[in-house]
Symmetry: C2
Subunit: 455 residues, 2 copies
Amino acid sequence: MKRQLENVYEYIDGNTRDFVETLIRLVRQPSISAKGEGVKECAELVEKIMRETGLETKLIQPAEGNPLVYGEIKSKESDKTLMFYNHYDVQPPEPIEQWISGPFSGEIREGKIYGRGASDNKGNLVSRLKAVEALLKIFGELPVNVKFVVDGEEEIGSPHLKQIIEKHKELFAADAVIWEFGGTNRKGNPCLYLGLKGILSVELQVEGAVRDVHSANAPLVPNPAWRLAWALNLIKNEREEILIEGFYENVRPPLPEELQYVEKIPFDEEEWKEELGLKEFLLKRSGVEALKALLYQPSCTINGMISGYTGVGSKTIVPKTAMAKLDFRLVPNQTPSEIFRKLVNHLRNSGFKDIKITKYGSTEPVKTSITHKFVKTVAETAEKVYGKQAVIYPLSPGSGPMHLFKQVLGCPIVSVGCSHPESNTHAPNENLEIKSFIKGTMFIATLLWDFASSS
Amino acid sequence: MKRQLENVYEYIDGNTRDFVETLIRLVRQPSISAKGEGVKECAELVEKIMRETGLETKLIQPAEGNPLVYGEIKSKESDKTLMFYNHYDVQPPEPIEQWISGPFSGEIREGKIYGRGASDNKGNLVSRLKAVEALLKIFGELPVNVKFVVDGEEEIGSPHLKQIIEKHKELFAADAVIWEFGGTNRKGNPCLYLGLKGILSVELQVEGAVRDVHSANAPLVPNPAWRLAWALNLIKNEREEILIEGFYENVRPPLPEELQYVEKIPFDEEEWKEELGLKEFLLKRSGVEALKALLYQPSCTINGMISGYTGVGSKTIVPKTAMAKLDFRLVPNQTPSEIFRKLVNHLRNSGFKDIKITKYGSTEPVKTSITHKFVKTVAETAEKVYGKQAVIYPLSPGSGPMHLFKQVLGCPIVSVGCSHPESNTHAPNENLEIKSFIKGTMFIATLLWDFASSS
């Protein structure tokens, strides 16, 4: 067996050029879900590449929104099914002027493929498909059943994924899921993420007079900007305590077995602060305390706000409106619907009935137990392939639609991938290191093998 | 004498068409000081019109900024000097699309001259010049010395007026000043304003990380928008109490003799609320209480604020900066420099050293004593010409450079004018009713006459 996996690695190594070409082909096809740019074309290209790999595919088109690309390949050797969740849509490339080469050029420089989606998430998708291809080429078939779910709306909050999963429950049945993202840290350790924070995005809107009014009249005209500032102050205080009544009541503290792993996570604190131009982190958090806050503290962030005159110099008006956008990052077992209700009640009960609250996207927090045997399989495989200890994040500070799979399938979900720390995902000059791409492909091939034989 | 003034009124009445043409000529010359548009050309046109009227003139050009037009005409009959303060610059006309005719077209519709500056302040300026013209035509000379100071930077806070006045103290010497604005209220009563609130405009700026950061990192990255919201909350509370330490310590309460006049001011409360789309004024103020707040309460207004993402939908970032613009309206005896110092200290002492505070324009509060005999002269003349009781505002909620004249000249200053309540100053479709324009011209001619004979 060992010898045979060596053949798979050889195949992967020998076909690097071809793998890179497939990824570049996919990167060159824009697929910006926020703007609807190239999305359909990209879905068709993904389906084509999946068919070339040997998968049976179908495009699942919701009544509204972008198609999801589904693909599967059955194994004669096993009843077990491993599912991959990826997405073919990408973040908008702006600010364009900060890209060294065009965001959809797929240019290679110094061993890296540059382009929006190179890492997030087209690189990870192609890496997984190429792992399947390598196993098929060497063994003629796969050690387990494999399913690919390739979302077309991940970057806009997967608004139609829930209805698709519920409608196609059997299609989505699996014993375990590999989530879309991950890679190695700066020291080369492979990282595993066992969960995600939830998120609730809202907008607060306040209205005053029907038009901007000369500020000489300020003693008589209600000012929505002041109303907004006061309302915000009722939501969080300077000690970063979220003041919404009952906000923390469902928060579960991290389990002792999770904290053991958190304490082992390397944390490039100084490097990160320097990159962000910060002398201190918030509340002077540092070390394990900072990591614990990052993973386990729910947060409330003003993402933006606007009111009145914001140009040069001064303009003496009482503005007619004020608006703020906020997101709440939620931890197990908070839910976005609970927090939204509590926020609405909190402002109502504090005398701010005049503030209109709009709910935008939301996802629930979710995690797979750190003691699940699938976690052990993935970690052991990673350590074997990378030759370094695996770093396990019991929770990730990010968010995504993982809970939809968890709720419907009830199976373990672990996120791993082939990115490296300078991949610049969601930023200009996104890229994927070819070496990481190829290593990640070997890792996935090995994982399919090891998953087949795991108890 | 009475008979002779009748001749002046006849002249004014008979030359209405010519007066209107002069005003339209001036309105058609844009003079937007905020953008530097047409300012020099307008100064030259004003000087030309003043010379045509019979004044000796000069353009006073400060080292930087727009020229001030000075004009005078000496009287052989009196040593007394009445000075008029006006301005030839106008507010920007935006939003352009809300104008029925072009903002610099000077179109006449239904007895009104439409255009930016028609009322504020070109109409008032031409009205005063035409009063002088009428007296000269009928009597061959003026009953008192007259001076015109026509500012070119009033709408941008008269940044160079102080240095001009200080440099030309003798040129600006006068026994009394008629300020730029005023008119009749909805019931046709002429209104007198004896003072102005002061103003201090500032900008608060907060910096966070060197770039917007993914909000998943909110537990570690300081958020300038939150800092700003908390700082604002330390400046004013929901009960509209300004919390800056020592803010109120120099505030002088209204004098009993002033309150007698305030209680007589008609206040179109319901009409105003309806126009602004408000159910209630701030703090449910109404009646004399509302008027007293409007005239005597200092205020702190957020004019505008901006941070992070303000487009459609949500964007999950911790913004890198946040900014708010505020103005403080000050009452006697507060000063802008005192309040600026107190604001800076207040934020420093409250743990907000990170907030950068920039000072924009400022003017000091100022008032002429309600018992001054010049006030009596102006009020009696107004009542005689308009046939209605004069309404006296001991203070106006607006601001302007009146204190510069008061400090240097030490003479009484009263603001009256020829506007009517629907003049839309600082708004689209600014206009001047021709009837008000002509009546205001008769008022100023009579006032020059009465001022000569007043003790």
